[in-house]
Amino acid sequence: MDESSSVQSGSGSGSRSGSAALEGDRRTAVVVEWRALTAEELDEALAGKVRKVTQVFALPRLVALRVLQRYRYETDRVVEALVSRPEAVAASVGLTSLDELQGAGPGSETGPADGDVVCGVCYCEVAMNESHTLRCGHRFCYACWRIHVEMEVREGRAAGLACMGSDAVSNARCSVGVDDFVVERFVLGKARVAGRYKRFLRESYVSGNPYIKWCPFEGCECAVEVDLHDAAVSVECHAGHLWCYRCSHEAHVPASCEQVKTWLTEVREESANDNWIVVNTKACPKCGVATEKNGGCNRIGCAKCSIHWCWLCGISSPTPELIYSHGCGKFEEEQSETIQTRKTAAAEMARFTHYADRYNNHHVSREFAQKLAASLGNMITSSSSSTTGGGSSEMRRTMAEQLAGAAKAHLRARTALKWSYVFGFYCRRGTRQLELFEFTQEALAKEVEQLASALEDDEDNVEPADVVRLAHLVEHRLDGMQRTVAEGMQMAAESGGVQESSEAGPRKRRRL
């Protein structure tokens, strides 16, 4: 099941990919394509590049691998360089000519079938055809090759595997890289060694490739490939983690990477000053009982006096409807005259606290959203594994998929909502665009609350159709908010420290 857009609701597992418009070049939106990669897909991509180079130029696999590494895995550049200046390519991997690249020339062979030879490592006499030398002529027995290669792989060398000899005169360690024979015979033959070897190849493939990054979430082994180097695009890995490709932070649209960085510094400083304290409990506005938020929804039903109130602004009502329908995400400056008149640091502080409060609130809710999305995601797997083919289990599975899709939409929206307050904080005040943005933001916040409430309801009360409808609403609104931002909000952002520095240099694009 393919997902064609980064903001579309996901359902079930399947290849993740997408495209997103960047508001980079002011008028013309830059569309960035990306796709999530598993470890196996990374291996396959690397193998494909090696295959291309080996087939066209008849290079040994390992030579192709080293050349690719030198040219940052850009196959087109390698091919072009091999055609126009093979000597330079050869020199980049310590060889002198295309012939040498192709493995011609002396050495690199297993000995003839007859005769004995003394291995330079173990000093044992072995049959010639039980020994192997690279083009440097340092000959060792198979047993020593195996031990050497296994030790090197254990220590993390893969593409850099080399001869174990050294120059008789200078004592310089021999730098000739191992050939395909050595890898095939001593590395790939043993599953454990081969596994590690492939992992290290994969790691150097990712670290040497500016178009691929590992998912920054702890313990995640997925990666994402983009077609525009250094693109500030929100991506989602196969494990469902949402992050920004450029800064490797949690996905933070509509805020920019720079805003996130500035914001986090500011929040850290404020909390260090004790000016801004993370609030864990709040008092019920009616009975005053200390209340802890245990879900993402901001509508609090007091367990003691059964009144309904808003976690954010404290407005209360005997029925939940009013809480769902009211809005409090906008900062009403004219409301507080003191702020207007004093125009001091206190006003700035109040403003900061307002945004920080909302940011923090959605941050906490986002954690719940993440857990909910994960647990509903697991439900799909368990419902599909327990399926024996009955009609009701088929229905259960569809329902689980729908709920999981909605939970993901909820997570995406919650994440965007959290960062929208950072974006809002850095926007120039009093513009039409900000007004429009805050309108959308407020609407999104309300819809997200309703979705959260529906998702967190008891399983028996959940009406999947309702949840799906709310999720669609949220996604549509999220799209709208992103469009609003893209349509020039960036330019309205305050000039102080929120310039998109990435737009300065020319960026290279490459086919996915």
Binding site: G120, V121, I147, A162, M164, N171, S175
Partner: protein
């Protein structure tokens, strides 16, 4: 399994060294039961500041020798930029290469085709030709560079001590001399 290859190789090296002993060098395992520690004796290279010295050292081999290098520690006092005050020798071929991209750098470092003999030969050439770029003994390196006569005088005192254990040196380096005296008594 661990150490069997190393043991075989060390015994082969020992056999080879006893069949055709090189001039001015003697090397052997400390005992039949432990081939992973060797005692080495060598005569200071002709024409160098150490000419005529009788120097002894201990080689400690790891169980994955020769994939990893041994350490070498002099048991006679050696005043030299590349020998730590403890006697430990610091030369490049006793260092393992840790370059991740391996095949590109061609520096002098340990490789499994090095041997006891090649180590001792490298150490003899180090004695004749110190490398003061990354000294193990900073004081010795500074003296070697700035005050060669004083450096030579101190080396000469060590040489005399290594031959006869002069009371003058015993007074100055009591601990290390005592240690080397007790260890050399069992050598060869």
């Amino acid at each position: 399994m661990p150490g069997v290859g190393a043991m075989k190789r060390l015994l082969r090296e020992y056999k080879e060294l006893s069949r055709s002993p090189p001039d001015g060098i003697a090397a052997a395992p400390v005992s039949d039961s432990n081939v992973f520690q060797w005692k080495v004796a060598m005569v200071g290279p002709e024409g160098s500041d150490y000419e005529g010295a009788f120097l002894t050292a201990v080689l400690d081999f790891p169980h994955n020798y020769p994939l990893a290098p041994p350490t070498m520690t002099f048991t006679t006092p050696v005043w030299h930029p590349n020998v730590y005050p403890s006697g430990k020798v610091c030369i490049s071929i006793l260092h393992e290469g840790t370059d991740a991209s391996g095949y590109e750098s061609a520096t002098e470092r340990w490789s499994p085709i090095q041997s006891v003999l090649s180590i001792v030969l490298s150490v003899l050439s180090m004695l004749a030709d110190p490398n003061d770029e990354s000294p193990a003994n900073v004081d010795a390196a500074v003296e070697w560079r700035d005050n060669r006569p004083a450096f030579r005088a101190r080396v000469k005192a060590h040489i005399e001590a290594s031959l006869g254990l002069s009371p003058e040196l015993l007074r100055r380096y009591p601990a290390s001399i005592a240690a080397s005296a007790s260890s050399t008594s069992s050598l060869l």
